[in-house]
Structure formats: structure tokens, C-alpha cells
């Protein structure tokens, strides 16, 4: 331990392989707010080398505070934080081998693009030639070479974000931290930068922690997503799992859209692929995948994504009964149509992709409502 601390100064902060980051029971209670819920109420995470991990949640869920504790801008009230086994909490932010990309870009307005990117390397007292090479390479890989002599205020938002990214990446940190870096960009640019960040991170293989409240960003970028709520972790899983098998109603609701149908478990079987439950919903019986924690008799809730709902004509029906429902609202979005349908289990939202011309149902139409049972998910009801 003593040796690792004493070498921190000498070991360059740059040119390190990807780090593995451990957060153990991290708590942040702001002074003067004793008695209230802490901003971060015990986060334990094991972030693997080279992994792209996203902290996702509504505002005030503690995701940014967690990121700032990792960076060192906040001191945890409790808990440990280690990078490759080395304690980070003892180090001030400038001594941590991490680099951060800020929401506001935080470029130094009095320096050129080149100087901005060179800043960290010069602090490390890299030889001039090396600084030139590294910065040139970083600028080239972000297609910024032509802008090297510009001042930040002469750049567009997207260009500024590239400079901010180059400035962090050029340090070759063990961990890259992103604090909602794309939220100030317009929608199209956001999608483009998202792709670039992911490609670059894949190429460099730097462990990355990314904070966002945008689920599209989280889904498209991450190896794993951490969904947070009120300072606690709700679920840590791959984007696929978070979407298809959310751990709670909160997660299901926050990621994507979902219909929640009240039901009860008839039978519950456990096979190799996990729990499967037989339930009744929308006037029919379905066998659906179910959450591990469920037992027969648990209060449950059936999640059906709008795109899993299937609608078929119901010429014989004139009332809402059994599997028959009535279209209340129909909105055409171009690539898809969205319906709100009154059913015996309450209102259900359905999304039909690529509707055929003339195939759009008008309000008042009676339809038969069903869903693909493998795509539904039975989870504990929210209390």
C-alpha cells in the first residue's frame, strides 16, 4: 500500500491499461441535511476493465453525485472506492488517473483548441515533441486538425464537445468519466456523437462511467446499465435485460414504455431458463417469463411493452368484454401508429409498426387484443 501511494506521483497518469473500479457501500450525506435521505445511499458496484457502464435515472437520483465521488469532486461520507485495488478516496481529484468530460464541455475559453488538449500533457511535463504528437493524433482522430488554432467560442457545440472528448482521451486515463456530455446538443448531433463515443471507447478500451437521464443514450452506449432511484441502485444489467426483464415496476416504467396489467399467478414453474408463470390477462391464459423472486401468491404485475401488443379485427363484438377492446385514441406517427385501447384490464397502449396504407383503425373500432407471451414479463407489484 505504502509503495503504491508513493509511486502515484511518479507514475504518469497517462498510458495506463484500463482500470477496474470498485465502489463499496458509497454514501453521500450532504452536511446540514442530516435526518433527510442521503443523496447517495449505499452504492456497491464492480466495474470491469474496459467496460462501458452507464448510470441512468431521473434527476436527483444520485447518479451525478456518484460520478463526482468517483472523480473526487465530492468526498463520500462513507464507503470505499478503489481503482485496481488502490484506494482513491485518499487522493485529491488531480492525483486520480481519471479524466472527465463535462456537460458544459468546460473548455478553457482563453486557450486555443490545441492548448486545451495539450493542457493535461503539459502538466505532466511531457517533452514538447511528445505533446505535439499526442495532441495532433487526438485532434486527428476527432477530425479536429483544421480547428487546432481556433478559440473555443469560435466552435459549434458539436465541435466543442469533440475537443472536450479529445482533451480527456489524450490523457489515456484509466477511467473516463462522462457527465451527461450530450445533453446540450441537438437531437441529430446527439445520435452521431453517441456513435462516435462508442466507437472510440471500443478502440481505446478505456473503462468508462457515463451519466445520463436519456435512456436511448444508455441503451445504445452501454455494456451495462445501472438504473438508480433515490440514491439507490434499482438494477444493474445489460441493456437487453434491463429492457426485457426489469427488476421493478420503476425500471420497467423508466426504460421504454410499458403497460402494467394486474393479475395473479395460477401456477409457477422453474425450468433452466428461469421462472415461468401461468396467468390470466385480457380474457385469456398466458404462460409468461417471471421474476426470480416471485412465489405463488406474491402480489404481481404483468408488464407488456406496447410493441408486443397484437390487434386483430373483432367483427362480432359490440362491447368491451373478454379479449375484446375498443380503440379510444389513434395517433399516426409515420413509422408507427399508437392506439389507446379500453379493455377489461384497463386502458392498454399498443404500437403497430409500419402500418399499411388504409389500415389505421379509427377511434371507436372494436378489436381483439392479445400479446406475445414470451415478450411479456411478470414482476413484483410496486407497493
Amino acid at each position: 500500500m505504502a509503495t503504491s501511494l508513493s509511486t502515484t506521483r511518479e507514475t504518469p497518469r497517462t498510458a495506463s491499461p484500463a482500470g477496474s473500479l470498485q465502489l463499496t457501500d458509497l454514501v453521500k450525506q450532504y452536511p446540514g441535511s442530516a435526518g433527510t435521505e442521503p443523496a447517495v445511499a449505499g452504492i456497491t458496484l464492480d466495474i470491469r476493465p474496459g467496460e462501458f457502464l452507464t448510470l441512468l435515472g431521473p434527476s436527483g437520483c444520485g447518479k451525478t453525485t456518484t460520478l463526482r465521488m468517483i472523480a473526487g469532486f465530492e468526498t463520500p461520507s462513507h464507503g470505499t472506492l478503489t481503482l485496481d485495488g488502490e484506494d482513491m478516496i485518499a487522493l485529491t481529484p488531480d492525483k486520480r488517473p481519471m479524466a472527465m468530460v463535462f456537460q458544459s464541455y468546460a473548455l478553457f475559453p482563453h486557450m486555443s483548441v490545441f492548448d486545451n488538449v495539450a493542457y493535461g500533457l503539459r502538466l505532466q511535463r511531457f517533452p514538447r515533441k511528445r505533446v505535439q504528437e499526442e495532441v495532433d493524433f487526438a485532434l486527428a482522430s476527432m477530425s479536429l486538425t483544421k480547428l487546432a488554432d481556433r478559440a473555443p467560442n469560435q466552435l459549434s457545440g458539436g465541435q466543442q464537445q469533440r475537443v472536450a472528448l479529445a482533451r480527456a482521451m489524450v490523457m489515456k486515463p484509466k477511467v473516463l468519466l462522462f457527465d451527461e456530455p450530450l445533453s446540450n446538443l441537438d437531437a441529430k448531433l446527439r445520435v452521431q456523437m453517441r456513435t462516435e463515443i462508442r466507437a472510440l471507447q471500443h478502440k481505446l478500451g478505456i473503462t468508462s462511467v457515463y451519466v445520463t437521464h436519456d435512456q436511448d443514450e444508455a441503451m445504445s452506449l452501454s455494456d451495462r446499465i445501472v438504473v438508480m432511484r433515490q440514491g439507490r441502485i434499482e438494477q444493474v444489467a445489460t441493456p437487453d435485460t434491463v429492457y426485457r426483464k426489469p427488476a421493478s415496476v420503476f425500471v420497467a416504467d423508466f426504460i421504454g414504455r410499458a403497460n402494467f396489467l394486474d393479475t395473479t399467478i395460477d401456477t409457477l414453474v422453474t425450468d433452466g431458463g428461469g421462472n415461468r408463470a401461468t396467468v390470466r390477462a385480457l380474457g385469456a391464459t398466458y404462460v409468461v417469463p417471471a421474476h426470480d423472486a416471485l412465489v405463488t401468491g406474491s402480489p404481481v404485475c404483468l408488464m407488456v411493452r406496447p410493441e408486443s401488443v397484437a390487434l386483430s379485427p373483432a367483427p362480432e363484438s359490440r362491447e368491451v368484454t373478454g379479449s375484446y377492446g375498443r380503440v379510444l385514441k389513434s395517433v399516426f406517427y409515420g413509422a408507427w401508429v399508437e392506439y389507446e385501447i379500453e379493455t377489461v384490464d384497463g386502458n392498454v397502449t399498443a404500437v403497430i409498426h409500419d402500418p399499411a396504407p388504409g389500415d389505421i383503425l379509427a377511434s371507436g373500432t372494436f378489436v381483439q387484443v392479445s400479446f406475445e407471451q414470451d415478450r411479456a414479463w411478470l414482476l413484483p407489484a410496486d407497493d
Partner: protein, 579 residues
């Protein structure tokens, strides 16, 4: 000229650092801790210790006696009442004049607007006697206007003269504050009132004026404190009208009664600090000016001659008076005895520029030039600590820094005289040699530099805090995250970004140092001659010509340095690649 870069003489406290629950949760690094300790130590020596000595002196047996006297003996009570009357009068008149100028500037369209702005700021850069002495020459017993022109035997000395001179000297503060407020009022509120059926006069009464009330109140308080703390003018034009500051001066320089002087100044200190605290409290909750969104729309100018004519007449009359005063100063400097013997002469300049005069000029400029960068640097570091580094106790640190401005000059001067005339000895160890007075090191110059620093620093601190609050804290964090220590970040990121504010703060600090008298007069020594106190002795001796010559030179030096600093600001504004 670049007078408009000058902040008003006493800035009302800028809104305190906004509450950011997220910021400042990190540990402070060692360098930052050392900087904090250093700054606190310096402030303790520069302002804390002299104030403590004032208190200890005032609460000695003699001091307590005087304190009791002030409220019981009728002679002393008159002094107290005089002081209050003067403060109230100057507060009202100065605020009214300042508002007239500000309203004309913001809401009227007329020729010579820019010129009027410069005229209104002129009193800031000139030494206080310029006005007092010129007013005596113009309106005194044998005054050019009152006696020679109108044949009156008019006595300007006393309350009338003091009110006139002090109002003219300090109204620029009110002018700048109210102009700023008028300009930040959202024109849409006027338009809203108009569309609801109010006419111009109704809008002025029911919208504009009520929104400016906090501004009026704060200007009144500022002028009140400036007026009661002023020493130069009561000495020159006060006549028999004695106020607390001149009473304290007489106690110390005439009666050698330091304890009584301290007691008098304590009575001055209390309202000074009180007003300062009220101002800070106010700034925190002053939310009248543009509550929501960006101001939109255009200001509708006042066009009705019913409003324009009287307002412009009043404003131009006052502007003419100011010009007359400065013309008097300028002409008086080239005249044997203005109004008595109006022959052209260079004798005044010859006197001032040779011997004692040039000595004082040289010393004052050098000392001010030494003090200015120190004050500027200290102010910026303090601003940085207050805005960015300290979480708990930043209000206290900010307050400690601002004390140099909140404490009346007379009080500060007496505090320095009391605290630094003898070596500071605790136990048997001499911590500090004597810094002030004839027997002190460097002939007492060090204490003068210290006064300049503590008196000028708050303006740097204010402009530093204001500009730091404009800078995204993430920029600091970006630097830290790239491996820069706290001090490194300050040096290579923060400082370059606040340089314009720093320089305008410095300019103002310099002007203030060069023209200040009340704190200096108690600690000048025969070895260290300061221009302002030299001017006072020339005025005292009735040699107005010399005083005028001094004043013009002082104004020239201040304007010259301001111009130079402005050139520097402009040259450095472009970003440069530093590889």
C-alpha cells in the same frame, strides 16, 4: 476617456455566491489550505488588529469617559446630532441628484449624453479638496460668484457648504448604482403597464419608482456613511460645524488624546458596519429587478416636454456647476490668487513641482503603485477562495475582506496610528517593528502602503467575485481532472479568465489610493509625504493656488494610469496559443 470602466466608489455587495448544493464537497489540498491561512493572517494584520486596538483604546477609562460624554454632554451631543443631520442631508440630496442623472441617461434622448456621463463620473477621480476648495473660491465670503458677481456677503462655511460639497463628491456612487438598476429593469413591465392603460406619469409613479426603492434605500445608506466618515471636507469647509470625524481628528492631532479619538471613531464605526451589513442582507434578497427571463423589447424614451424640460434643466445646471468647479481648479492653478489677483502665473506649479511637492508626488505615486498590484492580487485570491474553495465560513472571510471598505477611513487611520506606532510585542518577543509614524521603519511608508492595500482590496474582491460567478465551475473541475493542483488551476485557468475584472479592479484601486486622505492623515510622517495631506496643509494655509496645482497634477496622474491600464486590458483580450 475610459472613465466608464470605473466601478462606483462603493459597490453594493454583489449577490453572495449562489447556493450550489453540489459544489465544494471535495477536500481542500494542502496548498489551498496554506493560501487560506496566509490570507487570513494578512487580513488579521491589515484590518483585524487595528480594529481590535481601536476597541481596546475606546474601552479604556478615558475612552469610556469620552463615550459617555458623546451622549451626555451637550457640546458633544451637538457633534453627534450635526453628524447625523449632515449624513441624512447628503444621503437625500446625493441620491436625488444621482437619480436625476441616471434617469436622464437611461430614459431621455438628448445631445451630449455621453459627455454628461463623463461629467457625472469626474468627482470619482479627483481628490476631495478639489471640490471643496473650488466651492470656497466660487461661493465663499469673497467668492467669485457670490461676492464679485452678485455682491452678496455669503457664508458658505458650515452645513450648507458641507452638504453641497459632499453631495457633489459622492453622488456618482448613487448615479452608477441607479443607472445600472434602471438599465436592468425589464422594458416589458413598462409595456405591460402601458397596455393596461397607464400613462407615462402613472407608470413612472406606480412601476418605475417602486421597483427602484431598494436602490434608493441602498444609495441613501451608502451616501450617509460616506458623508459621516469624510474628514477632508469638514476640515476645509466645515467652519464651526463640527462632526465626529473632525472631532476625532482634533482629539488626536490637537489634544494628543488617542483614547478619545478612538472613542469618537467607534461611534463612526458602528453605523458604517451596520449599513454594510444591511447592504449585504439586501443584496441577497433583492429580487425586484427583472425577476423572470431576459429583458425584452425596447425602452420607450420619455418624450413629453413636461418631463424633459425640468429634468434636463436641473441636470445641466448641476453639470455646469461641476464643470465650473473643475475649471476653477484648472484656472486657479495658473493664477496668483483666483478672485483677488487674477494674474497668470506658473509659480504654483513651480512650488508644487520642486522640493516638497515633487517629493510628495513621487512618493505617493510609488506607494500607490506598490500597493495596487498587492491589493489586486489579494482581492482576486480572496474572491477565488470565497467563490470556489471555501464552503463553511466563506461569508466570514468575505466580510473580513470587505471590512477595509466598510470601516470609515477616519476609523481606519486612527486604528493604524494606535496599532502600529509602537512595535508589537507579545511576551518578550517583538512580532512586528513599529510600522507607522516618524520612528517607524521606512519612515512609516509601510503603514501607508498597508492602508492603501486594505482600502483598495475590496473593490478587487468585489469585481473578482462577480466575474468568478460568471465562470462555469466545471472549467475549474476540468483542469483539476486533468491533473492540475488547486493553485495551478487558479494560476493558469482562473486568473487569465478574470484578468479584465482584475485590471478594472486595479485601476479603481489605484485611483482610490491616490485620492484618499482620511486614513492617511493620521499616519503620514515628515519623511513620507503624501499628496493628499500636502494639499490639505496648503488649503489650511490658504495657499489655494498651490492646492489647485496639486489637484490638477493628481487628476492627471490618475487619468494617465487609468488610460494605460485600459490599453493593457485591450491588448491582452485576444486568446493566444502559448506553445
Amino acid at each position: 476617456m475610459s472613465l466608464d470602466t470605473l466601478p462606483p466608489a462603493t459597490l453594493p455587495a454583489v449577490a453572495p455566491p449562489r447556493k450550489e448544493s453540489r459544489r465544494g464537497g471535495a477536500k481542500l489540498d494542502t496548498v489551498t489550505k496554506l493560501v487560506i491561512a496566509g490570507v487570513v493572517l494578512i487580513l488579521m494584520i491589515l484590518i483585524g488588529y487595528p480594529l481590535v486596538r481601536i476597541l481596546t483604546q475606546a474601552f479604556t477609562v478615558e475612552g469610556l469617559g469620552t463615550l459617555q460624554d458623546i451622549f451626555s454632554s451637550s457640546a458633544n451631543r451637538t457633534v453627534l446630532v450635526n453628524t447625523v443631520i449632515l449624513g441624512v442631508l447628503v444621503g437625500i440630496v446625493g441620491t436625488a441628484v444621482g437619480f436625476a442623472f441616471a434617469y436622464a441617461q437611461a430614459r431621455l434622448d438628448f445631445r451630449g449624453k455621453r459627455l454628461l456621463h463623463l461629467i457625472a463620473l469626474l468627482p470619482i477621480v479627483s481628490p476631495p479638496f478639489a471640490v471643496a476648495t473650488a466651492v470656497i473660491t466660487l461661493f465663499g465670503r469673497s467668492g467669485l460668484i457670490t461676492n464679485k458677481l452678485l455682491g452678496q456677503d455669503y457664508n458658505i462655511y458650515g452645513l450648507t457648504g458641507l452638504t453641497l460639497v459632499l453631495s457633489l463628491s459622492f453622488f456618482p456612487v448613487a448615479y452608477m448604482n441607479l443607472l445600472g438598476m434602471l438599465r436592468s429593469l425589464d422594458p416589458a413591465t413598462d409595456e405591460a403597464a402601458l397596455s393596461l392603460g397607464a400613462n407615462r406619469w402613472k407608470i413612472f409613479r406606480s412601476v418605475t419608482i417602486p421597483m427602484l426603492i431598494p436602490g434608493f434605500a441602498s444609495c441613501f445608506l451608502l451616501l450617509f456613511v460616506e458623508a459621516i466618515a469624510d474628514l477632508a471636507n469638514p476640515l476645509v469647509i466645515g467652519g464651526d460645524f463640527t462632526v465626529l470625524s473632525s472631532r476625532a481628528y482634533i482629539a488626536i492631532t490637537g489634544e494628543y488624546d488617542v483614547a478619545s479619538g478612538a472613542a469618537y471613531s467607534l461611534v463612526l464605526l458602528v453605523p458604517g458596519l451596520l449599513v454594510f451589513l444591511i447592504q449585504r442582507y439586501w443584496a441577497e434578497r433583492r429580487s425586484v429587478v427583472s425577476v423572470t427571463g431576459k429583458p425584452s423589447g425596447n425602452i420607450t424614451l420619455l418624450r413629453s416636454p413636461l418631463g424633459r424640460v425640468p429634468l434636463l434643466a436641473a441636470v445641466f445646471a448641476i453639470a455646469t456647476l461641476i464643470i465650473a468647479i473643475y475649471v476653477t481648479v484648472f484656472v486657479g492653478a495658473f493664477t496668483a490668487i483666483l478672485g483677488v489677483n487674477n494674474t497668470f502665473t506658473l509659480a504654483n506649479y513651480r512650488y508644487v513641482l520642486s522640493g516638497i511637492g515633487s517629493d510628495a508626488m513621487f512618493t505617493t505615486t510609488i506607494l500607490a503603485l506598490i500597493a495596487t498590484p498587492i491589493a489586486g492580487a489579494l482581492g482576486m485570491i480572496l474572491a477565488w477562495l470565497v467563490v470556489r474553495k471555501i464552503r463553511r465560513g466563506r461569508g466570514a472571510l468575505d466580510f473580513l475582506g470587505m471590512l477595509g471598505l466598510a470601516v470609515p477611513g477616519t476609523v481606519l487611520g486612527i486604528g493604524y496610528a494606535v496599532a502600529f506606532n509602537r512595535p508589537l510585542i507579545i511576551g518578550n518577543i517583538q512580532l512586528l517593528p513599529a510600522l507607522a509614524g516618524g520612528g517607524a521603519i521606512f519612515g512609516g511608508a509601510l503603514a501607508i502602503v498597508m492602508v492603501y492595500v486594505i482600502r483598495s482590496m475590496p473593490s478587487g474582491q468585489r469585481s473578482g467575485i462577480a466575474s468568478l460567478q460568471q465562470i462555469d465551475p466545471a472549467i475549474d473541475e476540468a483542469s483539476t481532472s486533468l491533473g492540475a493542483s488547486g493553485f495551478r488551476t487558479f494560476w493558469s485557468i482562473t486568473l487569465p479568465l478574470i484578468r479584465p475584472a482584475l485590471l478594472s479592479g486595479l485601476t479603481y484601486a489605484f485611483a482610490r489610493a491616490m485620492t484618499t486622505l482620511s486614513p492617511i492623515i493620521f499616519i503620514t510622517t515628515p519623511q513620507t509625504k503624501i499628496m493628499t495631506s500636502q494639499i490639505l496643509s496648503e488649503v489650511d494655509a490658504g495657499r489655494f493656488g498651490n492646492a489647485f496645482a496639486y489637484c490638477t497634477i493628481l487628476i492627471a496622474i490618475v487619468l494617465g494610469v487609468i488610460g494605460l491600464m485600459n490599453l493593457i486590458i485591450r491588448d491582452r483580450s485576444a486568446p493566444t496559443r502559448t506553445s
